[in-house]
């Protein structure tokens, strides 16, 4: 077993499952967090992640297969997607792929799933297909406000981590998203995004 990445919430290991490569995602206890709160969060997110990753396959979202869940240790063993995170791709490619990402997010929302952590690191390009990962913060929700929170987050990430290509990739994302959800919902959600931004600190000039 080899440590691949110390993520924000979990350690990611490369391991074996049934003689092929697999990923072990371990949500280890965090010393800084109150133990009661810590175990609640780790357990909830492990269940959420395993559930959502499996559910979304039924409507065609590429995501890793879940092989095994260990709730007492808050661990999931899942299929390895040996591609590259969109975050690390050349900028021209990120711009292009933003449209596909928008479509995937739209499809998730159509089926009442909010991802909850939409960053460019959570989309993996493998064999010309984009896989969606990291569903620990996902929620079953059809509330437009929740879907708008998803959009605001990816917008914030594009604006900060990919500032140079923000305009074009955001435009592409929106066009992909609109294609998936239709214009009526698109207008509603994007209006809500502006509303949430307006609520931000010092966002509106007085």
């Amino acid at each position: 077993m080899r440590l691949l990445k110390k993520g924000a919430e979990a350690d990611i290991y490369l391991t074996q499952w049934d003689k092929s490569n697999a990923i072990l995602k371990a949500r280890k206890p965090k010393k800084y967090r109150n133990p009661t709160l810590d175990s609640k969060i780790r357990k909830q997110r492990t269940i959420k992640e395993a559930q959502t990753i499996s559910d979304i396959k039924s409507f065609g979202i590429p995501s890793p297969l879940v092989y095994h869940v260990n709730l007492t240790k808050s661990e999931i063993i899942m299929q390895e997607i040996p591609g590259k995170p969109v975050h690390d791709l050349p900028e021209s490619q990120i711009i292009k792929l933003s449209k596909d990402i928008g479509r995937l997010v739209g499809t998730l929302h159509n089926h009442g799933v909010m991802h909850g952590d939409l960053t460019t690191s959570n989309f993996i390009l493998y064999k010309k297909k984009i896989y969606v990962i990291d569903f620990g913060l996902s929620q079953r929700t059809i509330k437009p406000e929740d879907h708008a929170v998803d959009l605001r987050l990816i917008k914030e990430i594009l604006n900060s981590a990919h500032a140079k290509i923000m305009q074009s990739s955001w435009k592409n994302f929106l066009s992909g998203y609109k294609g998936a959800v239709g214009s009526a919902k698109f207008i509603k959600i994007t209006n809500l995004v502006s509303e949430i931004e307006g609520r931000g600190r010092y966002a509106t000039v007085v």
Partner: protein
Amino acid sequence: MLGLGIESTAHTFSCAVLEKNGKKGKILSDVRKIYRPPDGEGIHPREASRHHIENSSTVLSDCLHEAGIKIQDLDLVSYAAGPGLGPCLRVGAVVARSLASYYKIPIYPVNHAIGHIELGKLLTGAQNPLVLLVSGGHTMLLAFLNKQWRVFGETLDITLGQLLDQFGRSIGFASPCGKNIEDLAATSTNYVSLPYSVKGNDVSFSGLLSATKSVSSKSKPDACFSLQETAFAMISEAVERALSFTRKKELMVVGGVAANKRLSEMLQDVCKRHNAKFFVVPLKFAGDCGSQICWTGLLESQVKKGAPLENTFVTQSWRLDTVKIDY
């Protein structure tokens, strides 16, 4: 180079004199007067601005006296032009404009939040940090990219400082309540489950505030303890997410809430896990002060001439991610 900085965005009226030599800066004096609202009440902008007006001349002359300089020695004067409370901001701006026009000193309007960050960098020596700005006015995670501070995460509603103050006032403490809450929290170890709301790199505190108020009717210590544990865990998680996403190797904490020991302890643990160096601004300069404004003005003077007097406005809403930084 000698600069004078004037801070008056909220409860603090402060003047400071700094000397800049190349990249080095030295604080010659930093004098403050802080407006204290009555117990259980928040800052009243009008009352605070009156306090600032009454104290401005003493603070200014004490500050010059302590630094051992005369107004004529100053190379520039900078003031906090926003964000903040309008009536309070105007006091600092008026003092700055008066000095600038009478003594013909170049004047620099400065963003208050940038001031927190720049003084933090000067005092801690952090080179390229992820910045956590936690105060009454801000709760933001920032990293510098392409001449601007970019927001990687922030609160979607109230700030960490507001959360602590508003809860503290509801149980009768005087603002700022952080220290009182910290002390009372230390007397309990009973964690009561409270809403934990992390949305990606963003956090939301308003639900937590209401829920904590209802816990406090049963036990104030439990409420304080659980509030700190929950809110700081949320911040720590957002920091972890931003550290892992930006791959920064330094974390710098600035702003008034940086003084909280429990928060520092949790963030130190986060940094250990991510092999990042942990920097926290010295307690004395964590809160609002003139040094922040002065140092930022001195930095700006490297690339900019002073502002024409007719452009020396104050702006209540002025997001720091809209400020272009050329120095």
